[in-house]
Every structure is written in C-alpha cells, then in structure tokens.
Symmetry: C2
Subunit: 471 residues, 2 copies
C-alpha cells in the first residue's frame, strides 16, 4: 500500500513527464533521484514481475523513446554522470543497456541501486560461431558419444583431437561441423618431440585449445553423456557453460544464495552494491552425476558410491581460494585466459583414466591464480554431465598414489604464489608462475621442474600458433 | 575383478590373522601398510557400501575385538604412532573412533588415506541437552510459530527472549520446555541502560546467546516456519544445523562437490589428503525459501520475487572470504565462538523488519574473522526455513538506505582486518577487533564508534554473566 502523494512525489511525476526535455539530472539531490527511480518502478514493477509484458521488455514503456534519445544526446554532450548512468542501468531497458555496452561504458564506482540482472543476461547474446567444442578422443569409436550429444553439439563447431597414442581409426558419425586433428597434424604444428610430451592422453585436448579461434571453448570427456536435471529434462551443458561465462562472477564477497545472476536469485542483504556489477567470468567448472571425479584411493575404497545429488546451483569460487578443477566438463573464455589452460604436470606412470592424471588439477590451479591476478572470476557448479563406468580403480592405485602425494606440495604453492604488477596478460602470468615453480617446487621433485619447462614451452607455442592463425 | 594373490598379499593375509598379537605396525614400509589397509577394504567394502550390514556397523567385523583391544594396549604402551592411528581411523569402526575421540587424540599431520566420513558423523552423537533453541520474540502471539515448529523444537530446551520494546503479553502454547526472558529479566542481568541499547528489536536474541549454557545454539526468526525439501518432506532445521556443526568444515581448499561430509559425497580428485580431516565447524548459516533475505531496495524493486530454488547443498565458506551472515536461521557452537556473535551495529532508524537491520551482517563478519583467526570453519547452505510475508519494503527504504551505504566501508574493513597471535579466545579477538573498528572506521561514521564501544561492553558482559553462570 502506498501513502498518499507528497509534494515531492507530485514534483517527480511532473519531472517524469518532462524527462525527454531534461539533459542533466545530476542537480537533483540523491534522495529525490532515488525517489524518481522508485516511483517509476512502483508503478511498473507489477507488469514486469508478473510477466504480463510478454514481449520480454523491461518495464520502461513510457521511457521508451525519450530515454533512448536522451541517452544519445547526453552522451554527445559529454554530460553522462555516474548518477544518470546508474539511473539508466536501473531502468533495465534493453536498448539502453546495449548502447551502454556498445560504448563500453564501465561503472567502476559504488552504484547504490538494486540489481536488475535481467539486463545483464539479456544484453549478452551468444553467437554459435563464438563457441568451439573441444573433444579429446581417447576412444576410437566416438559414435555413441556424439549421437548422445547431438541435440546439444550440432549447432556448434567441434574440434576433435585424437590422442596421439591411439592407434585405431576414429569412427565419427555424420551431421556435425567438425575438424579432426591427429598425430600428424599435431606434429606438423608443433614438432614431433613436443607432440609426444605435451599432447598424449587426456592432454590431447590442449591442442584443441591451442588452435581454436573462438571466444569460448567448452570441453567434455568422451566417456560422458548429457545428464538430466531433477525434473528429467536433458541438460544442455553448453548453454549452461555459456550462461556462466557471459554473466558476471562475484569473487570478492560470498553470496549465500549462490550465483546472483541465475534466474530467480539476487544479491542478499548486506552484499555491497559496489561489488554487484561483478567481473568477467573466465572459467566455468561443471560437475558430474553417476561416477564422480574421485581419486583412485577414494574410488577403490567406495567402488559402489555414485553421485546422485543434483545441486541446482552455480557459484563463484572466491578470490584466493584454490579448487581442484576437473578437466572432465569445463568451459572457458579463451580470449581472456586461454594460455593459462595448459598441459604441464605429467606423472611418470600417467595412464588413460582420469584418476591416473593430475594435469587438469595443475592447470586448474594455474588458471585460478591467473584469474585472481587479472581480476576475473571462476564459477563452479552447473552444468552436470553423466559419467559412465570404466576402469578398475584398485588397479590404478599404484600409479595414482604419486599424484595424490604431489598435491601436498602443489596446493600450498598455488595458495601462496603471487604475481607481479608487470604480469598483465595470461602469457605473462604463466611465465612468472613457471619461474616460481622452478625455484620453489623444482628442488622437491623432478616432475615439477619438468612442469615448469612445459609451461614456458607452452607459452612459446601459444604465441607462435596465435601469430600464425591471426588474420 | 581382483588379480590373483601375490606374495605380498598372502603375507598380509597372514599378518591380519595375527593382528591381535601385533603391538606396533610402524616397522612396515608404507606401501605394505597401505596394501594391508586396502586389501582389507577390498574384501569388506561391498558389505559396507551395499548396506547389507544392517546394523550400521563399519565393515570391521573381523577386526572387531582384536582392534579394540590392540588400540587400548597400544595406547597404554605409548606406542600409538601416527601410522597406526591412521590405520585405525581408516577402519571406520565406531568403538575405535569413540575411543580416539574420548582420549582427544588429534591427527595434525598428512594422512594419505581415503576418507571414511561415516566415522566422522557417527562418532558425533548429539545429546538433546547440548542444544538451546533461542527465539527472539518480536511478535506477542507465538502460538502459530511454535505450533508449526513443534515437531522439530519439542525435544529441545527453548530460550525465548521478548523484545524489550514489545508491550503486549506473550502468548505461548503449552508442551515446550522453555524459559521466557522479558525486559525485567534483562534489566536485572545487565542493567537497564544496557538492555535498551543492546537488546531491543532483533538484537534481543543476543541475550539468549549470553545466558545459554548449552554447547550449541540454534536461532530462527519468529516469522519463519519449517520448509519442505524437493520431495515434500518437512525439513528438520535443527538436525541439519547440528549435522553441519558436528561434521568438519574445510575452509582451506574448495571441494567442488560441496560438503564432503554429506551423505553420498566425498572429496574430489586433487583435494589434498592433509586437509581432509577438516577443522571444527563453529557456525552454520541456513537459508530461506519463499521470501529471501534481500535488502529493502532489492525487495522494493522486485516485490513479487520469491526464492523457490532448493539448493541441496552445504558448503564451507573458504577462509578469508567474507559473507553476509543472516541472523534469520543460524546455528553455532557457543563454546567455540559464542562471544563473537554480538549486538554492535545499530542503525539510527533501525526498525522491526529484517531489511531494516544490519546487526546480524556486522556480527556475522565479526564471527567470520574470528573463525578464520582461530582456524575453525563456517558453513552455509542447508537447512532452509520458509519465510512468511510481512512489511512493506518501499516504506522501509529510507531507513535501510543507511545500512546499505555503510556496507561499502564495513566489508573492506573486515576483509583486511588481521588479529594478533596474542588473540587466542573469541573474547580476545573481539576486543582486538573493537580497537581496529574504533581506529579505522570510527572517523568514518559515528555509528561505527558506537559499535566499537558495544563490542567492548559485550565482552565485559559475557565475562560477568559466564562467571555468574559457571558452576
């Protein structure tokens, strides 16, 4: 129930009618400006929230032309103050938002206005051509895998990289837009010495990351199929990764209702408004139903354990918090952090099962340190994929034990490593980190010295290949 | 499928038969010890995991008497090495675990053995007498509230604290074991000056925290009723808080499958074994379905928004990550962090709606800093409660605006404040923090100077009351 109109509210009503003629609102005291905004919302919010406005428009019908014209004129006159910008962001009007985005206007201050996340997701529309699906083929018959993923993958370009150790011909069903890369392609691109040491086994997918020319990369292991949500619906893992990557991450304060940019969620009471814009999300780490990504000892100890808990959430992993990134099901913004996803830590007895590898764990901590340093975010949670059974964990134990032990040195290292202000690109960051690995972990175990070398080699390779691929 | 027995495995089988006669296993090389352990598990695991052992025993049938006797003798002889302790913890045998707990043996090293969380939860059985339910009564008629909570609350002792500003008599239904505290009780305990300034409105619950003599406190707002999970089952919020508090927290590394101590979950690949024991969980922050805990601007902007997303997860909020703790639905270990939950930040125009307060947000950041300093953990997630409708957020906006603005200073302060090594109790921590608040935030706004004073006053009060209550 609203109170009867006050003098102020009547003045505001009058101001609203004149909005198209006002070229600067900054002379208004804060509380009037806020009242102006809220009065408007209190009239229109029901239409907005009840979804009656079926066109999906933000509830700005009466602002429609004036606001847009006003914004253009204000920008031309150089009079766009922080207050006015916030006012316009708060309108939630798609056209306005796209102008703000097109002009690359950033709000770097403390906007004391509620979020209207509708804008943030609607202003980010992904072109299928912005996405590469990278599949590392560790099995020769990809038919069942690709047939299961067909409804999700067929819109996108696929990069299939055949494990150089795999001898059989790949079997690939028709109907996909894809490129297949084999050992000879890898050798041609990077030389046969590098190909064997960098790209064998699960690491073959990194070759796909290297040659992708798209903004976003999504990569899923070839023993996973689409999962279903609690309502039985097929999960479009690619759409969810892209949604995670195109909505902001919030690494500097924890939101108890998880990702505030998910539908139906928001920032909770106490969340600073200055942090509600968030930052670019660079990495999206998905999860697994059925066979979870446990290490060999856990898998051996609990061979019957299956993950059936569908947790309907995405969250930003806070800054300076390390996590074990699994390579099974990830998406990332290649333009922002591509060079930081790298094949570096290879166990002496590394095999062809996930639990016999730690390459992705190492790569994940590298990329998390890089994200923290560059001020971008990492999300974890949805989407799930369904992991199928294979391998005998007990047989893997002797190999994996080494990886498990290495973590005791790896984690404290990445928790404490800090990069210099001079490192402003992911390539810079990786080179600095490689030096720190060599210095601090090199003496601990030879596998770390080799990892440091591989990181340096990777950045060289990245630069060469990027130069070659650039138009 | 197991491979045929090797010489080692035959030797192990023989060793197992002799276990009751072996007083020290530490002479065995690591890999034999581990094989010993794993061989045992590979025989018994199916019984364990398939649940065929309906008595709920850990799969230690053949260990049963020998192990227990062995542990006792080993302890008496002072020969309990780290390796043996790990071996015994890994057996998952309840009796053994309870001995280990009773003797307060702590594992502070790097146990390279898989988790067996069953033990950790089963070894922690809560006595109803360890729990106080603290309810701040802001409404005089508690009948509907208590009737709805009867199935959950009736086992426990209730402390009901009547808001000193509330004039009407409380209406309380029968059938509960409870104590009611009113303004005169508060005045008697702390003096009438303190009672008005510290314990009015939502802050009245802190009086309950002050006088509770139980290990655990659970507190839920009087406008909430039990929620239902995705399957329609009534959520026992108290049981979930106690489960969160009695299983370890893992603040030093993020587990992508959320709380590894939840049923069906575990630590994922790459999680360092040295961190899998976790630390004591001191605070459990629950969530809300229906009306979420948004601030007044968000609530005003989206009056129709309701939280219907039941996220079936609990997670540890990482160390050094701040979060907005809501006082609506929490549980905590009073013995570990009681004095750090305190009424300190009071807005000039603080009202009787949650979105008009920030006392809990402030208190929550205090307790998070204390937890990080003391090396204990904070969890967030389950349980949910169902928040009912009340209040007009738009009317609250003028009051709340102040709180929203204060967060811009509050959050950076708590993110950066560090306590000295001399602070070893929560009381010490609060006193140090109060000094930092006075110095760094005092000049910013008078409300912070008052908060610093209230923190000092609270610790004095805590000490006086604890001394008076101690047997």
């Amino acid at each position: 129930m609203r109170t009867p109109p006050s003098l102020v509210s009547l003045a505001i009503d009058s101001a609203l009618a004149q909005l198209s003629n006002i070229s600067d609102l900054s002379f208004l005291p804060d509380h009037i400006l806020i009242d102006l905004f809220l009065s408007q919302w209190s009239i229109l919010k029901f239409e907005y929230l009840s979804g009656e406005n079926s066109a999906g428009e933000a509830p700005c019908g009466i602002f429609k032309l004036p606001v847009e014209g006003f914004l253009k004129r204000t920008l031309r006159a150089g009079k766009l103050t922080e207050k006015i910008l916030k006012l316009f962001i708060a309108t939630g009007k798609e056209e306005v938002l796209s102008h703000i985005e097109a002009l690359n206007i950033q709000l770097v201050l403390t906007p004391v206005l509620p979020t209207s996340k509708k804008n943030l997701s609607m202003s980010q529309i992904i072109d299928d051509n912005d996405v590469d699906i990278v599949i590392g083929a560790l099995h020769s018959d990809l038919t069942p895998f690709l047939d299961e993923w067909r409804p999700v993958f067929s819109r996108f370009h696929l990069i299939i990289v055949k494990d150089p150790d795999l001898k059989d011909e790949l079997k690939i069903p028709g109907g996909f837009n894809l490129h297949v890369y084999t050992k000879s392609d890898i050798d041609k691109a990077v030389g046969s010495a590098s190909s064997a040491s960098l790209f064998s086994g699960y690491s073959c997918r990194y070759f796909g990351y290297l040659i992708s020319q798209k903004k976003y990369v999504v990569s899923i292991d070839d023993d996973c199929v689409p999962a279903r949500d609690n309502n039985g619906g097929l999960i479009d893992a690619v759409a969810q990764h892209i949604s995670n990557l195109t909505t902001p991450a919030t690494p500097f304060f924890f939101n108890t209702l998880y990702d505030p940019f998910c539908k139906g969620a928001d920032f909770v009471r106490g969340y600073p408004f200055s942090l509600r814009n968030g930052v670019t999300c660079a990495l999206s780490c998905g999860l697994w139903l059925n066979l979870a990504d446990y290490d060999a000892p856990t898998q051996a100890l609990k061979p019957g354990q299956r993950n059936s808990r569908y947790v309907d959430a995405v969250l930003t992993v806070p800054a300076r918090t390390m996590l074990p990134v699994s390579g099974i099901n990830i998406g990332f913004n290649r333009e922002v952090v591509g060079p930081a996803l790298l094949p570096a830590l290879r166990l002496a007895k590394e095999g062809k099962f996930r639990w016999e590898t730690v390459e992705d764990i190492w790569s994940g901590m590298c990329v998390k340190v890089v994200c923290d340093h560059l001020g971008v975010g990492v999300k974890s949670g949805l989407p799930y994929v369904w992991r199928k059974e294979r391998g005998d964990a007990i047989e893997s134990l002797k190999k994996e034990w080494e990886g498990v032990k290495l973590m005791e040195d790896v984690v404290p290292f990445f928790q404490s490593v800090r990069l210099s202000q001079a490192a402003v690109t992911p390539e810079d960051c990786v080179i600095e980190m490689a030096a720190a690995v060599k210095e601090r972990l090199g003496p601990v175990h030879p596998v770390f010295a080799r990892a440091a070398e591989a990181m340096v080699e990777w950045v060289k390779l990245w630069k060469v290949v990027r130069t070659r691929l650039s138009p």
